[in-house]
């Protein structure tokens, strides 16, 4: 164990892409955690999908040994966090395990929505915040302007902000010195009963369930019998260690330290994040406060393209869930799509990522239905049923409209942060999405707008639209503010006369016609021409509100079949059959899988 005064625990927080993971790279490199040969860019982003998209999804903790200018060697526990709003809960957990934070701000972009959201969380934890103005190498960098922004907007002292270029390795030593001199060491009592916070847990194919802990008081070591206070289970610790970022086994973790343990736990579900770990004998009485539960907010159906893959999908979802307790799933069946799962996610990016991981890591072909939110519906009594209240997760389960007394939908409070010049279009976007403005403040050349919005208007493509109308400059953060009544109807889509339940959606009556028209236009482009013409209709109840027609295919033939070479024609046919397997048949129409998602990106371009 390390003496408390030589420990520093800190998170790196920022808006998305401001350079947290790159800064972490430099800190690891500087302190010799990895050799140059072992180093790669954003080395902590180790999931394929993180590497490909260049974003952090899962927070990562590394221990660094740093010999400071005072001649002492410190144990630094660094936690790199994601910047995207969907993964904000990862940030909040990490913050709970630290005494301070490096607040990274892009010198060219300045303060953005997640900068604010994350720094406020950090302030709530009473953290020491060290501002780091990064990317000073960029020609557009304006560190002094950003320094002023940090002071004006966030209200923290930025006079001694560290200027860095994580990319070119400028200011790294200064960051490390600031960590040591400005962030306070943890407090704790080695002699007190063990109290450790269960910060995170994940499934590792070699180690089984791994638990990230922050020890508050006492000592955790191999062979110790511990209990999870909220979960109520007991376990024997069989491994104690830390990541540097390579796994390093240790004898123990003392007060103030962050590290991992394993205890032959089979399921991640048993190691609930936020739980308190103590000893079976002579343990603590008082549990730590724990974390706020994360609630999925966006739902969609996931169905295997090939019905025979249902079991495989079930297993894969269950396995993915081992590593990501933040999404929910339950079985669902659809007339058109067969058996699948209704899944809940933290946001659209989260949805996209889970879907992509299922497709790639588990080699599944999936159909994703329209994302939707959860509605609360009050039903009147009927001859056979009593009045009741239902929570509607799936538009396909929309009840008989004559029984509906009232529908409530979830609303959010959005904070949008944007350069002045895009404000007009952003206000218009929010207004079009049934938004209610709650505030507007200007700071420097930027505006901060508050809006209350129905979540169902946001799950379509609000975020994409916001990014595109502001050329990527506007940023967005939100929190849920409960349910409100709305005039909502179910809009169904019929292709060649057959209803396609996976495309039905719940919309506000005022936008139904426009949505229906857009949807029909989209589908017209997305469904390939067939050998016959295909009408596409949008309808509410029995009433058609929009229609389009896909004209019949005119030509698809290999002109020359030459010299007895049949193999090429055969390949063509094989390709065609494979393509067909990726489509869903509705009556005689094949709808490509992409159509289900793409049709719902309701951009008004």
């Amino acid at each position: 164990m390390t003496e408390l005064s030589l420990i520093r625990n800190f998170s790196i927080i920022a808006h998305i892409d401001h350079g947290k993971s790159t800064l972490a790279d430099r800190l690891i490199q500087f302190t010799g955690g990895l050799s140059d040969r072992e180093m790669s860019e954003q080395v902590l982003d180790n999931m394929d999908i993180e590497r490909e998209r260049g974003i952090t999804i899962k927070a990562q903790t590394v221990r660094l040994n740093y010999t400071a200018q005072d001649g002492l060697t410190y144990e630094l526990n660094l936690m790199d966090t994601p910047g995207h709003v969907d993964f904000a809960y990862e940030v909040s957990r990490s913050l709970a395990a630290c005494e301070g934070a490096l607040l990274v701000v892009d010198a060219a972009q300045g303060v953005e929505a997640q900068t604010l959201a994350n720094v406020y969380q950090s302030i709530e934890h009473d953290h020491e915040i060290v501002p780091v103005i990064n990317k000073i190498d960029l020609p557009a960098a304006e560190p002094e302007k950003v320094r002023a922004e940090i002071e004006d907007i966030i209200g923290i002292d930025a006079s001694n902000a560290v200027l860095t270029s994580a990319k070119s390795g400028i200011g790294i030593a200064e960051v490390l010195e600031a960590v040591v001199t400005r962030i306070p060491p943890p407090r704790g009592d080695r002699a007190a009963p063990l109290t450790a916070m269960l910060v995170d847990s994940w499934y590792d194919p070699y180690l089984g369930v791994v638990i990230l802990v922050r020890v508050i008081d006492g000592v955790i070591k191999k062979g110790l019998s511990v209990k999870f206070m909220a979960g109520g289970t007991e376990h024997l610790i069989d491994r104690v260690g830390c990541m540097r970022p390579k796994i390093d086994q240790l004898d123990e973790l003392g007060p103030g330290e962050i590290g991992f343990i394993t205890a032959q736990i089979k399921e991640v579900a048993q190691a609930r994040v936020g739980d308190t770990i103590t000893t079976v004998k002579g343990g603590a009485v008082q549990a730590l406060p724990g974390f706020k539960e994360v609630q999925p907010v966006v739902f969609c159906g996931l169905f295997p393209v090939d019905a025979a893959d249902f079991e495989k999908l079930r297993e894969s979802i269950a396995r993915l869930r081992l590593n990501d307790a933040s999404f929910s799933f339950e079985m669902e069946s659809s007339a058109a799509l067969g058996f699948g799962f209704r899944c809940g996610f933290l946001g659209l990016l989260h949805l996209e990522i889970i879907q992509e991981r299922l497709t790639r890591e588990y080699d599944l072909d999936l159909i994703t239905t329209a994302p939707s939110v959860v509605y609360r519906i009050q039903l009147r009594a009927s001859k056979t049923d009593d009045a009741c209240e239902i929570m509607l997760h799936n538009p396909a389960d929309y009840p008989d409209p004559s029984r509906i007394e009232q529908i409530d939908e979830p609303w959010i409070k959005a904070t949008i942060y944007t350069p002045d010049e895009y404000l007009g279009s952003i206000l218009k976007l929010c207004q079009d999405r049934r938004g209610v403005q709650t505030g507007l403040t200007y700071v420097g050349g930027r505006a901060q707008v508050g809006y209350e919005l129905p979540l169902n208007e946001v799950v379509f493509d609000f975020y994409d639209r916001l990014k595109s109308i502001s050329r990527g400059y506007a940023s967005f953060d939100y929190e849920q503010i409960g349910l409100r009544e709305g005039d909502l109807v179910k809009m169904g889509i019929m292709v060649n006369g057959d209803p396609v339940d996976a495309l039905s959606m719940i919309v506000h009556r005022s936008v139904a016609e426009e949505r229906g028209r857009l949807m029909c236009e989209r589908l017209k482009d997305l469904i390939p021409r067939h050998l016959f013409k295909i009408p596409i209709q949008a309808a509410i109840g029995g009433k058609v509100i929009a229609r389009e027609t896909i004209s019949a295919m005119r030509k698809d033939v290999t002109a020359k079949c030459y010299g007895g070479d049949i193999s090429r024609k055969k390949k063509l046919l094989e390709k065609q059959k494979k393509g067909k397997a990726r489509m869903r048949e509705y009556g005689n129409v094949s709808i490509p899988q992409e159509a289900f998602i793409a049709a719902l990106r309701m951009g008004e371009e």
Binding site: R554, D556, G563, Q576
Partner: protein, 383 residues
Amino acid sequence: MARALYIHWPFCLKKCPYCDFNSHVRAGVDAELWQRALLADMRHEAALAGGESLTSIFFGGGTPSLMPPALVAALLAEAERLWGFAPDIEITLEANPSSVEAANFAGLAAAGVNRVSLGLQSLDDSALKFLGRLHDVKEGLKALETGQERFRRVSFDLIYALPGHTPESWSDELDRALGFGTEHLSVYQLTIEPGTRFATDVRAGQFTPLDDDAAADLFALTRDRTAAAGLPAYEISNHARPGAESRHNLTYWRYQDYCGIGPGAHGRRGGMATVRHRKPENWLESIAAKAHGIAEERKLGLAEQASEALLMGLRLGEGIDLAALSRRFGMPPGELIDADRLVFHCGLGLAWQQGSLVGVTEAGMPLLDALLGELVPAALVNA
């Protein structure tokens, strides 16, 4: 027992920008070496698929009209010795309509060639230029005339649905083409094949291929015009006076056995698919080492053979005979074709069925690839 022999001559003076066939430009081809090699390849096939007299031989390429007549004569003499010739054997040679090659026609006819297929490609000079052809219309028509004098049977090729082709311009050109009075005509819509220079040009935005709707109109127009002139379509792109169809090509489409020799040639014999080495040098090497040019020989399963028979057979106006295929491949007719989809597409007027005969209608022909995807059961494709 194969009764059709294909001989590939892989050399061209120049590679055309639309062509994705196995053709190569080489300076100085050693005719003697090639003669010995092709003869060896031929003997190999005859030993495996001989026994019945040949009904057709086809010299394709490349540009087989560049072959010295003596070489053609030697190949034909050997083929006759190995297989024997049916009395009315059809011997076709593909020819470039240039003056140099036309000068060869007499020699080729004397060697035994009795049918020529001329790569005229267009009756418009600017189109010929676009297609990268070395001849112009005048020279081409001269060669056609010589061809008609020298050979009993003459066919020629045209490429249409070029960028800018309109129903008017194409029907004009087609009318002129039909006026030459040949018994056979092949008209191919321009398709942009991967790996060709045209594919690069299209990607670079140099030109845009004619869109499918316009091409479909031209296709229909072609079928009407040729039928009215007494040369109805008997295959997607082939038109003939009844009885004057290319017997050799019918062998492919009716999915009967054929031997293919020379670089890149394909063959089917006794349920076996053969492919020769594509690159001339590799093929020669193989001949030197093994006395044949085969790169791959693969036994086809019955399901795969059945799928090939459908792919080829449905190109023909006459269609396929399910009862005959069922006997041939030992499969119930219900497994040869998707009966539900057939009924559905007959309803749409794209396919027809008469007893055990099944085919594609005039309206269905321009959609054949899509139709095959519907009619050929998945089990045959994935088998």
